[in-house]
């Protein structure tokens, strides 16, 4: 298993966000986390990336326990990419500088090499002419794709995507989803929290339904989204269908 979460617990005050949650992700696997707002999807991703500290349980990456307090969190984060709902590009840097910051500063790679790699990515996405512009000149979809490239140039073992399309206008969602689909075909291991059920169905190898801080049901997308066994999952999906999102 590439990622292995066992009995993970996270509380904010009295509120239990993750309640002994367990989830395994194999290499090259794409797992979609679905569930209502507040079900713990984002919190789980933040805990895996060690941006939030867990209150019990263990998380392992490549067999190594990353929740051991003696471990260097900076070294772990270098192996995990995280893409945020609100892109979080650095507004004072050009697109190119956003992408090359971590490779040059963290991974100590040569500046011209990382720049060439970044340009290859931008050309592939049709954003090469935006390399010298600042993020506020880009559309949401363009910003989010730059944010994904920023995570990818570090060659992460695992990519975490936190509701990466929820802040986008509907017509811009497609370009981001296409990019994620391409990453899957290249074998990237991904865990994505999403509200896009249709997309989860297409791209995920496995769908996990989170409810009240637990994985209530998981399995192939056709089964979980098409014929769920848990009443809670059914209830959630029927609301999604009512809203016209499936």
């Amino acid at each position: 298993m590439l990622l292995s979460c066992t009995d993970v617990r996270k509380v904010f005050g009295d509120h239990v966000v993750l309640d002994d949650l367990s989830l395994d992700v194999a290499e090259h696997e794409v797992v979609a986390l679905i569930g209502a707002s507040g079900s713990g999807k984002s919190t789980l991703l933040r805990c895996v990336n060690l941006l939030a500290e867990i209150d019990d349980g263990t998380i392992r990456l490549d067999g190594e326990e990353i929740t051991d307090p003696r471990i260097n969190a900076d070294l772990v984060r270098r192996k995990i990419g995280l893409v945020f709902q609100s892109y979080n590009l650095f507004p004072h840097m050009t697109v190119l500088d956003n992408i090359t910051l971590a490779p040059t500063r963290v991974h100590r790679r040569a500046a011209d090499e990382t720049r060439a790699q970044a340009m290859t990515w931008l050309e592939r996405l049709g954003l090469a002419d935006k390399a010298r512009t600042y993020p506020d000149r880009l559309s949401g979809g363009q910003q989010q794709r730059v944010a994904i490239v920023r995570a990818l140039v570090n060659s992460p073992r695992l990519l975490l995507l936190d509701e990466v399309t929820s802040a986008l206008d509907p017509e811009l969602v497609g370009e981001v989803l296409t990019m994620i689909r391409d990453l899957k075909s290249e074998g990237m291991t991904m865990v994505l929290a999403t509200h896009e059920m249709g997309f989860a169905k297409q791209v995920a190898d496995r769908v996990a339904f989170l409810h009240a801080g637990k994985v209530l049901e998981q399995g192939p997308p056709e089964q979980v989204l098409g014929d769920p066994t848990e009443p809670r999952t059914r209830q959630f999906l029927s609301r999604i269908i009512e809203a016209g999102r499936l």
Binding site: L89, L101, N154
Partner: protein, 279 residues
């Protein structure tokens, strides 16, 4: 087909032009009226001839201008040295105050105590304490009073500037730090490459404002006994029994401040525009 404004649009343009001419004329007229009223009020006042003699006496001004100018050169040099030092000190203290970890605890406490003390302490007292207290210790190699007075100014303004920098650092949204850390940047790298550049940009107007204030307060060095523009003017005023040398010094300080004030206003305006542009 080339675009030609419609008749209605041409009418609008002509109307707006007439309005613009009208407002320029009105502004010019009201300026003249206010100017005349002010002149009449001041020069027509019963004490004006005396005030004119003791504050605006041309002979006294020309006589003491070289002395005041020579003293002013000390103020200029003090400003050029003190302003960058105070900025560096302020930035350093702000970074120390926002540092984390148990090892940094005493540093945080000291930095906090420093800003509280020197923001509360009147600059005049700080200058007295530095310029007269430190030589009183009779230590080897005690520097000149000018250096001690300058140190008092740097330490006082460093405390104000530290708070401005800190406000800037804390105004950068935590999601920016999260993004930097998620890329594997250490706390220090995130501070240097992501937080500080944004923080400094945001607080530049406030920093410049404090630098303008510092520019005038270098005049307080005269309290330490150094002959700067203010002390030279004081000596001139005592010799001639006339206040004109002070006015000479005042004009010099204003002239020195003008460019910086203009820059500050422009930077502030640009910052406001940049912030509203995104919305």
């Amino acid at each position: 087909m080339t675009y030609a404004p419609s008749e209605r649009q041409q009418e609008r343009i002509a109307f707006r032009r007439r309005q613009a001419i009208r407002s320029v004329l009105l502004a010019a007229g009201s300026t003249v009226v206010v100017g005349v009223l002010l002149t009449v009020a001041v020069t027509g006042s019963p004490g004006w001839p005396r005030v004119k003699r003791s504050f605006f006496d041309l002979d006294t001004a020309t006589k003491y201008l070289p002395d005041v100018l020579e003293g002013f050169w000390l103020n200029v040099r003090l400003f050029v040295v003190c302003a960058p030092l105070a900025l560096v000190l302020g930035l350093l203290i702000a970074i120390l105050r926002t540092s984390r970890g148990p090892v940094a605890f005493p540093v945080r406490v000291l930095a906090g105590g420093y800003t509280y003390t020197f923001r509360g302490l009147p600059l005049i007292i700080t200058i007295y304490l530095f310029a007269f207290g430190i030589p009183g210790l009779r230590l080897q190699g005690t520097p000149d009073v000018v250096v001690l007075g300058a140190a008092a100014i740097v330490v006082t303004y460093g405390a104000y500037l530290a708070e401005v920098f800190r406000a800037g650092i804390e105004s950068v949204h935590p999601s920016q730090v999260a993004a930097a850390r998620s890329l594997g940047l250490t706390r220090r790298q995130a501070m240097r490459h992501v937080v500080l550049p944004q923080a400094v940009r945001r607080v530049t107007p406030a920093l410049l404002n404090d630098v303008v204030a510092l520019q005038k307060d270098v005049g307080l060095i005269s309290l330490a006994g150094s002959i700067d523009a203010i002390r030279a003017a004081q000596i001139g005023a005592a010799q001639s029994a006339n206040f004109t040398p002070y006015v000479v010094a005042a004009v010099l300080f204003i002239l020195l401040a003008l460019p910086l004030i203009a820059i500050t206003d422009r930077v502030t305006l640009n910052a406001v525009r940049a912030q509203n542009a995104g919305a």
